[in-house]
């Protein structure tokens, strides 16, 4: 529906290769193993899930051309009949069942699909997904690239092959993976959505953010993900480049360790929230590329509640501290992993909390140690980010606030509040959107008051591209599609 | 006999941080074609410096040739360009250094090292040069089949012979040997000296032999020059000097070595030590150690004066001026 690129002329004017750069390599080409964004950016081109989302996070058809709810716990999907795997074999309901079963069995990604009880093959092109209990975000979860559909025949024959030579149904076929270097993909001429216009897409690994910008500027890559905040203006002001920004599904926040004194005291937690000036952080460290958050659910996701933010108020914070019995403040440890921007933010927080007398020691830990220590509740405060990748609040609320999810799954404030648990569970098992929102509203009310976390901001998804790139759409979860992307010569 | 080398009033000094070392202090010398001059003196007397000075190999910095002339074959070597001087070295004047252990390049075969000097000066290359190198080896008594070996595979005496082969390869008219046998055992020293003598006569080479061993001088040299603190204090035909030493220092040297012929209970050494090279005494350099020294010796430097024939000495006492 965009007329512009066609006018530019046909293939003659287009490059046959588009290169995009990201900060980390795919961990695994197997969509049921590699679950981090850098892996999913590649899986997304090679594989398809049953359903997917548009840029406003509405569920739209993909491999399933349509679906219907048979009951509270049963979904029927009608699969397209024109889908072929890259090896030429046809996609059938068997493949879908096999893939979902495989995902459920995977210790890496099962959390995405473990609401499923079983998958039935109704006929060659129909599958029925039965859930254990009514589960509202079912469709959203199935849009996740980790619910990708793989070929049963190939994967069963050689279970290892998918790790080195993944065969999917997506717009791009896998060509080559040079670990640490690049993944090369080739247009799938038989793609059910039509052949992509760009012959090759290459994902290049460039770990240093500054280097990604430079590579973009020098034309070594056409598209660069995750530019560092201070480089955004360099891209937007460069006439040869453009900066694409979109709302993201990620929120950044502190989790207070409610097991530890003095953070077991609600007043202290509230005081800290008042004492942090998130707007300044966004304006300076993020160069404006973010939005102050009142909760950890991104506005674009289902279930978002526009609760009142804790506006920056030093006096109030001091007052609360005094009420809590700490008029002169106290010492505390803020744990953060070794990412520069996060450390910078923590340093700002450190300096802001100093104003109300809290002496914060920023403890920078290497990721593994960070996870370990915060799982074990060694922190007073921890700096975390969370992406609601399915754009459904349950994806975030459950692991972060549910009392069964202490430690590793995500609840590192160690909040254990029966009401909170109840609202989360209720919202999960009803398919009724309105009822769910009710629950979430009540939930946010408690959370906002209890303040197990201090939401800081939502960041933006940013992508820098060359001016010649057309058809690139920013996807809130960061899983951008290359189906329509072209680059003029 | 024709004069091959004449040194006139040569000064060489080293400018070091400790001060200026006047290592060669107005030396004048003559050497005839075919004859051998022994240069005797204690550590630090300036023997090596003089030899290197003739070769123009004084390291600069810190060394400097301060003045004088070195007339070799009618040419003043000090006036030659560097390139011209290179053609003199190895071709007309060769030098042998004290320590055979360190004078050969450890990473080149002995043949290469001999052939190098040949190919530089004789304009022959490759095979021919190495053929000649082998001949030279045979000449110094080393079988040609060992020519591909490296210096470390040779014993000290053999190394010194290789060095002699290098020095004589281009048939130089002057060979300067700086303590060529000091590092060797007596039996080996005897072999090497014998061979040098033979080759020298065969090739009609003149030689300056530097040593502090009076015995070696006796067996090898026609003339002898005694050096003390950068000066030649006595010079003459071997027999004149050895049979009739004039300078108290020369006498002292003879008194210091135990004789094989007579028995003495105690030696008669020169008292004291070599003076500090950076602040030499006023007057006669030897005066603080000299038993005859008088007031005059302390204020005034004696001049070289003839004793008889070629025999000259630099001493007021010997000249009867005290």
């Amino acid at each position: 529906n965009e007329p512009a690129p066609a006018a530019e002329g046909q293939d003659g004017g287009l490059k046959d290769t588009v290169i995009f750069a990201q900060g980390a390599d795919v961990t695994s080409l197997d969509p049921h193993i590699g679950k981090e964004t850098p892996a999913v950016t590649v899986h997304g081109q090679i594989f398809n899930p049953l359903v997917t989302t548009d840029k406003d996070m509405n569920v739209v058809p993909c491999l399933a051309e349509s679906w219907e709810m048979l009951s509270d716990t049963s979904y029927k999907f009608n699969i397209r009949k024109d889908v072929k795997f890259h090896d030429g074999s046809e996609l059938t309901a068997e493949d879908v069942k096999f893939s979902l079963d495989r995902a459920m069995a995977s210790s890496y990604v099962s959390y995405i699909v473990n609401f499923i009880d079983n998958v039935e093959v109704a006929d060659k092109y129909t599958v029925i997904v039965n859930t254990k209990e009514p589960y509202a975000p079912t469709l959203m979860n199935l849009t996740h690239p980790s619910a990708a559909i793989v070929s049963k025949a190939i994967t069963e024959k050689d279970p290892e092959s998918i790790k080195t030579n993944p065969i999917g149904t997506g717009p791009y076929k896998f060509v080559e993976w040079k670990p640490g270097e690049y993944v090369k993909m080739e247009a799938n001429q038989d793609y059910f959505g039509g052949a992509p216009k760009t012959k090759y897409v290459i994902m290049k690994v460039i770990p240093e953010a500054a280097q990604r910008t430079i590579a973009l500027e020098t034309g070594e890559v056409d598209i660069a993900y995750d530019l560092s905040a201070n480089d955004l203006s360099k891209v937007s002001e460069n006439p040869d480049l453009k900066l694409l920004e979109g709302t993201s599904l990620s929120a950044w926040f502190l989790q207070f360790n409610m097991k530890n004194k003095p953070f077991d005291n609600k007043l202290v937690r509230q005081a800290v929230r008042y004492a942090i000036d998130s707007q300044t952080i966004v304006d300076t460290i993020l160069y404006g590329a973010g939005e102050v958050a009142g909760s950890i659910i991104p506005p674009i996701a289902f279930g978002y509640q526009d609760v009142a933010k804790y506006e920056y108020n030093k006096e109030k914070a001091k007052e609360l501290l005094t009420q809590a019995g700490y008029p002169n403040g106290f010492d505390a440890k803020l744990y953060v992993n070794d990412n520069q921007q996060r450390i910078e933010i923590c340093q700002v927080i450190q300096s802001q909390l100093k104003e109300i007398g809290i002496n914060v020691e920023v403890v920078v830990l290497e990721f593994a140690t960070f996870i370990e220590n915060t799982n074990k509740a060694k922190h007073d405060m921890g700096f975390f980010g969370w992406t609601t990748s399915t754009a459904d609040a349950d994806y975030t609320y459950y692991p972060i606030y549910h009392s069964s999810q202490h430690g590793a799954p995500g609840n590192r404030s160690f909040i254990a509040n029966p009401d909170v648990d109840k609202y989360i569970e209720n919202a999960r098992i009803t398919a009724d959107s309105a009822a769910r929102l009710e629950n979430y509203k009540a939930l946010e009310g408690i959370i906002s008051e209890e303040s197990p976390v201090a939401p800081l901001f939502y960041n933006k998804v940013n992508v820098g591209t060359s001016n010649k790139v057309q058809g690139f759409e920013v996807q809130p979860a960061g899983y951008h599609s290359y189906f329509n992307v072209t680059a003029a010569k | 006999m024709a004069e091959l080398l004449e040194i006139r009033d040569l000064f060489i000094r080293y400018e070091t941080v400790d001060g200026v070392v006047e290592a060669v202090n107005g030396i004048s010398l003559k050497l005839d074609k075919g004859s051998t001059l022994g240069l005797v003196g204690e550590t630090g007397a300036g023997k090596t410096t003089l030899a290197k000075g003739i070769m123009r190999l004084i390291p600069n910095p810190p060394g400097k040739i301060g003045g004088g002339e070195i007339i070799f074959d009618g040419q003043d070597l000090l006036k030659l360009s560097d390139a011209e001087m290179r053609m003199v070295r190895g071709k007309k004047i060769s030098m042998i250094f004290q320590d055979p252990m360190t004078s050969l390049n450890p990473v080149m075969t002995v043949e290469e090292q001999i052939a190098e000097v040949i190919s530089i000066h004789e304009k022959v290359k490759g095979k021919e040069a190495s053929q000649k190198a082998k001949e030279m080896l045979e000449l110094v008594g080393i079988p040609a089949e060992r020519s591909e070996e490296y210096p470390h595979q040779f014993s000290g005496g053999m190394k010194q012979r290789v060095i002699i082969a290098i020095a004589l390869a281009c048939n130089p008219s002057l060979l300067i040997a700086d303590e060529p046998t000091t590092a060797l055992d007596v039996t080996i020293q005897a072999q090497v000296l014998e061979m040098m003598k033979k080759l020298k006569n065969k090739l009609n080479t003149s030689m300056i032999l530097i040593t502090h061993d009076l015995g070696v001088v006796t067996q090898t040299c026609d003339y002898v020059a005694i050096m003390y603190a950068g000066e030649i204090v006595e010079y003459g035909a071997l027999r004149e000097v050895f049979k009739n030493p004039q300078h108290p220092y020369t006498k002292g040297l003879f008194g210091s070595i135990p004789s094989l012929a007579e028995d003495v209970d105690r030696l008669k050494p020169i008292k004291g030590l070599m003076p500090d090279p950076t602040c030499l005494p006023e007057g006669c350099k030897f005066n603080p150690r000299c038993e005859y020294a008088g007031e005059k010796c302390r204020c005034e430097a004696p001049k070289m004066a003839e004793v008889d024939g070629s025999h000259v000495v630099k001493c007021f006492e010997a000249q009867g001026l005290l």
Binding site: A210, K234, T284, I343, E344, V348, S351, E366 | -
Partner: protein, 298 residues
């Protein structure tokens, strides 16, 4: 008379003699003065912290002014402000002690440990030597940055642990240097002379071997400190450096690298600081080697 003169002129200790030779090396002297300056700054800032109960540190060195971040040098802030709007001049001054002394203490530790192991190894030879040196081979075979990362990861972050990591990764180097030196001294005649008058191992080690192997150790240590400073900067780059907001130069440089194109001064200043320090350590090390090397005597 002459002798008397000479003896008076030459009455100098070994130290004076080396010092005289060292002084001739202009470059090394400049380096040394720079290091002295740094040391003085470190002492001064430490004293100030102590006297003011860290007030200056808290209010000027680490306190932020985000509105002025990345501001370039000006009359008010001679070296400009960093990414948090902190005064870089003050941070450089206060950071001196970390940069210089982290390296120095780490290296001192590895010198002592590595030196002792190397000395034992070189002195006793045989089996002991074999065991110690094989162990050093193992340590050497593990890339030192990996070792450092692993150690920091294992022990957790912090000054002390970085010190430990640095110290351990330099042990093999020192062990080797000292071992080689001890072995060369061990065979010298003056050791035999000491044995001939009945000196035992301990006396020989402490009175004869150690004083004589000090020179190369000092030189190696100087160079080691330089290396350690770079290693710390490298660790910072990998995110394992000093905990913020400590103004350690390596961390300053590494953190500033993101802004290298936005504000030249915030990388160039700590970069130059590190460079000059290391340059100084190196020229001083080289100068010491020349000054202490007995072969260069007279």
């Amino acid at each position: 008379m002459n002798e008397v003169e000479k003896d008076q002129r030459k009455e100098k200790t070994l130290f004076q003699e080396s010092w005289r030779r060292f002084k001739q090396n202009k470059l090394a002297m400049v380096g040394m003065w720079f290091l002295i300056l740094l040391t003085a700054i470190s002492v001064a800032t430490t004293v100030i912290d102590f006297a003011t109960n860290k007030r200056i540190y808290d209010t000027y060195v680490i306190s932020q002014n985000l509105t002025l971040r990345l501001k370039g040098p000006s009359a008010e802030y001679i070296l400009g402000l960093d990414e948090f709007g902190r005064d870089i001049l003050l941070r450089m001054l206060w950071g001196t002690r970390y940069s210089l002394f982290l390296g120095a203490i780490g290296i001192a530790a590895s010198t002592v440990i590595g030196g002792t192991l190397g000395a034992i190894s070189g002195f006793y030879g045989g089996k002991v030597d074999n065991i110690i040196m094989r162990f050093m081979d193992i340590l050497l075979a593990i890339p030192s940055i990996l070792l450092a990362i692993a150690i920091v990861a294992a022990l957790g972050p912090g000054l002390v642990n970085i010190l430990i990591a640095i110290a351990i990764s330099y042990i093999p180097t020192f062990a080797r240097v000292v071992r080689a030196k001890v072995m060369s001294i061990k065979d010298q005649e003056f050791i035999e002379a000491a044995r001939a008058v009945g000196a035992g191992d301990a006396r020989i080690i402490f009175k004869y071997i150690i004083p004589n192997s000090l020179a190369p150790i000092i030189v190696q240590a100087t160079l080691g400190v330089a290396g350690a400073i770079l290693s710390i900067a490298g660790l910072s780059f990998l995110g394992l450096g000093i905990q913020p907001p400590m103004p350690e130069w390596g961390a300053m440089l590494s953190n500033a690298r993101t802004y290298i194109r936005d504000a030249w001064h915030i990388t160039v200043i700590p970069g130059l600081g590190i460079m000059l320090t290391i340059l100084s350590l190196n020229v001083v090390g080289d100068g010491l080697r020349d000054a202490l090397d007995p072969r260069l005597k007279n």
